[in-house]
């Protein structure tokens, strides 16, 4: 348990450092961005005086560092500022709803791909080099290689256009919640599943093969134990560890995938919000989104680490090889 605590502590410290550096980089990057924020708020027809008055009122003429610390102070007190593009709308009022949607989408993808890839990975590993394995392995290689929007487009063509089973755009009607429109989740979640399936099932397959060839499993099978029992009770337990790591390592792809999938389907999540923010050059919104993605991403890596150390007695008791 001590080990778990030290992981959490070390990760939190490194998250804080990371966030500080990240926020600085984003802030400076936005500084060199072409275009004037005040001009953008007022539009192209604004007079010279109006623009400079607004710059003064918003404190845009202050030195960079002063503005940075003002922004950090706001973030720390929970004030993310106002959107530029959607005039007068606070970021807090749009961001959190979108984050919720994205988390639901990510979770649905998780529910689909984790069991699916573990089961098929185990199956391929047990039937090594037999036709079942070849088919599953090729499927894994092919789906892994496809960017989310490519598999998404194929899914749209089949399930949306040809069969007409699911909507091809994921728009929630105004005034309704996501939970009344669950059918819009299916195709986006399936597109994410495709990519993740490749990584996870391949990992599961190779770790299963490794475990199945180990002495204790061969001994168990040779002494006549039920093969299914050995596979599921003895082998799977040990073969799951690398899979957990690979799921954690691929959280980055999952987040990138969310942006792509949300853009493809017009799904109202955090990724499509970030995309809109970039297209409309909505600086405070970009900063808020990136900050939040960094936090969520780091947290998920931390959870994977803790889970791994908790499940692996070797790491838990001896301090491991990290």
């Amino acid at each position: 348990m001590n080990r778990t605590l030290s992981i959490i502590l070390r990760r939190t410290v490194s998250l804080l450092i990371t966030l500080t550096v990240m926020s600085l980089i984003i802030f400076l990057l936005v500084e060199i961005m072409p275009g004037d924020v005040a001009q953008m708020i007022l539009g192209q027809s604004a007079t010279e005086e109006a623009v400079s008055a607004l710059r003064e009122a918003r404190g845009l003429n202050d030195p960079v560092m002063e503005r940075y610390f003002r922004w950090v102070g706001g973030v720390l007190t929970g004030d993310l500022g106002e959107s530029i593009y959607m005039k007068g709308v606070t970021i807090n009022s749009i961001l959190w709803r979108r984050v919720g949607h994205s988390l639901v989408l990510a979770l649905s993808a998780f529910i689909l791909f984790v069991p699916l890839s573990i089961i098929l990975g185990v199956l391929a590993g047990v039937k090594e080099n037999k036709p079942t394995d070849s088919i599953i392995s090729f499927l894994g290689l092919a789906t892994m290689a496809l960017p989310e929007f490519v598999s998404g487009v194929f899914l749209i063509t089949i399930f949306g256009v040809q069969l007409n089973w699911f909507p091809i755009v994921s728009i929630i009607p105004i005034g309704e919640s996501l939970f009344n429109n669950l059918e819009i989740l299916f195709l986006p979640a399936l597109s994410i599943t495709f990519v993740m399936f490749g990584y996870v099932s391949r990992m599961q397959r190779s770790s299963m093969i490794q475990v199945m060839n180990s002495d204790y499993i061969r001994a168990a099978i040779l002494k006549g134990m039920n093969r299914k029992y050995v596979i599921f009770r003895h082998a799977l337990k040990n073969a799951l560890l690398p899979t957990i790591t690979i799921i954690g390592m691929n959280m980055g792809w999952l987040f990138g995938g969310l942006v792509v999938v949300e853009t493809l389907f017009g799904f109202p999540g955090m990724g499509s919000l970030l995309m809109t923010a970039i297209k409309t050059r909505d600086v405070p919104l970009i900063e808020a989104c990136v900050l939040l993605i960094t936090v969520i991403f780091s947290l998920s890596t931390m959870i994977t680490d803790v889970l791994y150390s908790y499940l692996n007695p070797r790491v838990r008791f001896q301090g491991g090889q990290r």
Partner: protein, 276 residues
């Protein structure tokens, strides 16, 4: 080389992958000679022409532009950027990873910290934000930004490879001979690590294609009029019900290229890693 062909015979799938990859490279080189249409010409009379009609083999999009010639021209930019990205990020990765792993101590710790920070943002999100903010992506800026996003991964691999070699006797021998650090790192150790590094670089090539295609799809890749496969998909998505070919052909182009490269890199890793 003989061993390479022998392995190819043993893995029939690799032949398919390598042929498709070679085909795309040929298409990219000889592209303009292959089509009778230009990639930018709009034809108001033949909008959303179905494949095969009026000489448009893959049909046309909503502005009457020939899909096939746009795919052919698009193959040039995506292959160029992806190839440069994988080479560039591998070289920088070797330089950084080797230096960190070789000198260890404070340099290594600083290296690991920096990589942790870079890795705290998903690579795709990092590049789309930077490219989006800078605007007007060119082949150069695209290559540069995507390479930077990939450096943590490549540098970590190089560092790991170096660490396994560092304790070998020939390294101590070189050190006792009084060779310079640079000589030991790049003349003594590097040639012994080509296997894993080439495997990583070919895998990186596949990732680069995925990444560049995704960035194009998000609209922060190469800007029009340069045709971009990813952008063609999102541009034509609104007409997917009326003209599915306008979306499906660029998507198939991406799919075939990435799968071919993945099979190729899978094959390379089988040949180079397992022969030891």
């Amino acid at each position: 080389m003989k061993y390479f062909f022998y392995q190819m015979k043993k893995h029939p799938l690799s032949i398919v992958g390598i042929s498709v990859l070679l085909l795309w490279i040929l298409i990219a080189i000889f592209g303009p000679q292959l089509t009778s249409f230009t990639h930018t010409a709009m034809d108001a009379e033949h909008q959303m022409t179905a494949p095969g009609e009026f000489g448009h083999l893959f049909g046309t999009d909503s502005m009457g532009r020939d899909i096939m010639s746009r795919i052919i021209y698009g193959s040039r930019s995506i292959l160029t950027v992806a190839l440069m990205t994988s080479i560039f990020s591998t070289i920088i990765g070797i330089l950084l990873g080797f230096t960190a792993g070789y000198f260890s101590g404070k340099i290594d710790a600083a290296f690991l910290r920096t990589m942790d920070i870079l890795m705290a943002i998903p690579p795709l999100v990092l590049s789309m934000v930077v490219l989006g903010i800078l605007g007007d992506s060119s082949i150069l800026s695209l290559t540069l930004i995507v390479s930077i996003a990939f450096i943590p991964a490549t540098a970590r691999v190089s560092r790991g490879v170096l660490l396994t070699e560092k304790s070998q006797e020939y390294v101590s021998a070189a050190r006792i001979r009084g060779e310079s650090h640079f000589y030991i790192m790049f003349i003594e150790i590097l040639p012994n690590t080509t296997g894993p590094i080439i495997v990583e670089a070919t895998a990186r090539f596949a990732y680069s294609i995925m990444m560049v295609a995704s960035l194009g799809f998000l609209g922060v890749g190469l800007q029009p009029p340069t045709p971009d496969w990813g952008m063609m998909v999102i541009e034509n998505k609104p007409i997917i019900a009326q003209a599915p070919w306008a979306v499906l052909f660029p998507a198939l182009a991406i799919a075939s290229l990435v799968i071919a490269i993945s099979i190729f890199s899978d094959f390379v890793s089988k040949v180079l890693i397992h022969e030891r």
